[in-house]
Symmetry: C2
Subunit: 417 residues, 2 copies
Amino acid sequence: MREDARDAALRVDEQRLWQRHAEMAKIGAIPGNGVNRAALSKEDIVARKLLLSWAAKRNFTIGVDAIGNLFIRRAGTDADAAPIMTGSHMDTQPRGGRFDGIYGVLAGFEALEAMDEAGIKTRRPIEVVAWTNEEGGRFAPCTMGSMVFTGARPLADVLDVTDNEGVILKDALAQTLAATPEAKQREFKSPAAGYIEVHIEQGPLLENAQKTIGVVTGIQGLRWFNIEVSGKTDHAGTTPLALRKDAVRDSIAIINALTELTHDPADVTRFTVGRMLVTPNSPNSVASHVLFSVDIRHPDPQTIAKLGAAVEPLARKAAKFCEVKVTPTLHDDPCVFNADVAGEIETATRELDLPYMRLSSGASHDANYMSRVCPTAMIFVPCEKGVSHNEAENATPGDLAAGARVLTAALIQLANK
Amino acid sequence: MREDARDAALRVDEQRLWQRHAEMAKIGAIPGNGVNRAALSKEDIVARKLLLSWAAKRNFTIGVDAIGNLFIRRAGTDADAAPIMTGSHMDTQPRGGRFDGIYGVLAGFEALEAMDEAGIKTRRPIEVVAWTNEEGGRFAPCTMGSMVFTGARPLADVLDVTDNEGVILKDALAQTLAATPEAKQREFKSPAAGYIEVHIEQGPLLENAQKTIGVVTGIQGLRWFNIEVSGKTDHAGTTPLALRKDAVRDSIAIINALTELTHDPADVTRFTVGRMLVTPNSPNSVASHVLFSVDIRHPDPQTIAKLGAAVEPLARKAAKFCEVKVTPTLHDDPCVFNADVAGEIETATRELDLPYMRLSSGASHDANYMSRVCPTAMIFVPCEKGVSHNEAENATPGDLAAGARVLTAALIQLANK
């Protein structure tokens, strides 16, 4: 690591970063320390104006694209070089917390300020982006800003989406854009030389392993299925087991087979049956019908593809007495992050002497779309008991600052490559 | 078997017996060939009067006790000898069939007529009883008539029970008793030298084994439990399996352990999980709580006691991650019928050259209470696909007559012992 990268990283101001989280948490505050700041809402506008007010105090340039993604740029020495980008989102879940999303924006901004204060120059510009509508809680789909920016879906696809109150997205967007006239219009798909997103883990791995930094190597793939098992109801007292078409029994045989399929001593594979509906659901009636959900996740594309493909044949084979219908309901391929970017993050973490581990993200992020257009990776910091999407979401000032330090160093390394 | 027993058995008139089922089925007939004839209802009174009108044409004496159990007696040569009894019930489920209960009354009456027509005498009197309120569909509890007759519960306990319309049992009972003034009042717990109840199987064993007669050796014991598994909800994507307290996973581990516990190559043990309630019941949330029912039945007292006692420790042991609460909700000890009475039934069946098997009853019957006061056993005949408590309940005239023939022969054998 270059000396100037270390210097800038150590300029990260834990108190300032924490204070900014507290200021942002006031915008849309809800009881229990939570935040409700829907995308393109009045609260979102207030948060955007606050962020831009901080940017205005520095010599940073401000841009905005047609979906409302905000860009704060610290210039590089090579004016023609594509920037290294960082950021996350400022919207929250309806009963969200103080760190999900906003941390990535504030840590990115803290990195720019630390570089300024260290007086260092980078060859490439560095940009902090605040993506519009990552949560999708008000307007579906989620990760909308990065999706449109990267061209995964055209803007026209989402303009007419309405929220629960009937507000059309394009109207809320126009209001939001009008509120920050100082931001210069810019195009979608502007070139980027790299992207790093910092985020709270939203899971318990770092806390349990007592690690400060997670070097995130990808976002795991996901397969959802509904499995319907149809048998026949019978009297529980009079019908021998061999003559039953017991939908509960066959469902359990299927779940046992899927448990074996997904068994993973490394505990990377996620397998969840979270929903079960039993009919007629009476203690002395053999069940005629069960509907249950299957959620399987894995970061490796080959593994998740193999697991996903095995579900239906395995379910059919395991059910000895009933009819089985397997319906795929969701299919997300894994995102594998760029090894060089992850390597820079790991190097920075090691040189800053922070305890870390490599891990895969359980949830999706804007980095998912960015990884399709430029070298991308993520940095996680621990959150208390892994709780997120909840008012109780919590993280320590020290961990948040540590993540910002790693980000600062890694951004400088990438920007000077 | 005595020659007169065989003669009388062969006098059983298949057409007459079938015709009487058809006549009874008109009383409370509902669409789909079903019958709704609640205990102590107007329909019950009509059925009682019809039965007594047939009895009046023979030289039979008629009695009734204070709970409305009707007794039709064919005299024996020894006036002081306690009678051999047979019978069942005339009330039905709200959506009941044409055979459950009424068959046992009509088969008993057919036996008396066959004896009359064969001109045979028995030492002991033989009595057909029509027990009041076996189903319990209108007034709880079920098997009320035999329960009160045998002294298992005092009459006073049930007199104030009300039905869903607020009718008090004692009022409905008074109306019913007033409708058959010709029946002579008699006491509860009148001595009996034996009891045989004939019934449709209400299960599929005889049909599947292509047997005409079931020699019923007892009524199986029953244990019900509610098992509550309490863990913790987590995000299905971010929480490794080792860190989860997944209530579905532990519930399945418990059910697997109970499946192994109750595994029975002879397929006599009944094990049913018919009810499962999962919380929060969302595909991408690890379940925090599951409530499920356990229903275990077995005819052998030692076996059901052992199985019942094993449930709670096994459930606790199987659940690796969650809290487990096991609540017993029902406990019925098995009823083991008298070997001599069952032996007489088996002998009669064999000598009448009918295909038969020994089996245990999955459901309870009035014979359960009678077995506590006198030597008792039951005879089953097949019902179509094992369906009962349903309008679709069905049986063949030939099988019904076969059951009545075995009953006739066995009653004569017992009455002459």
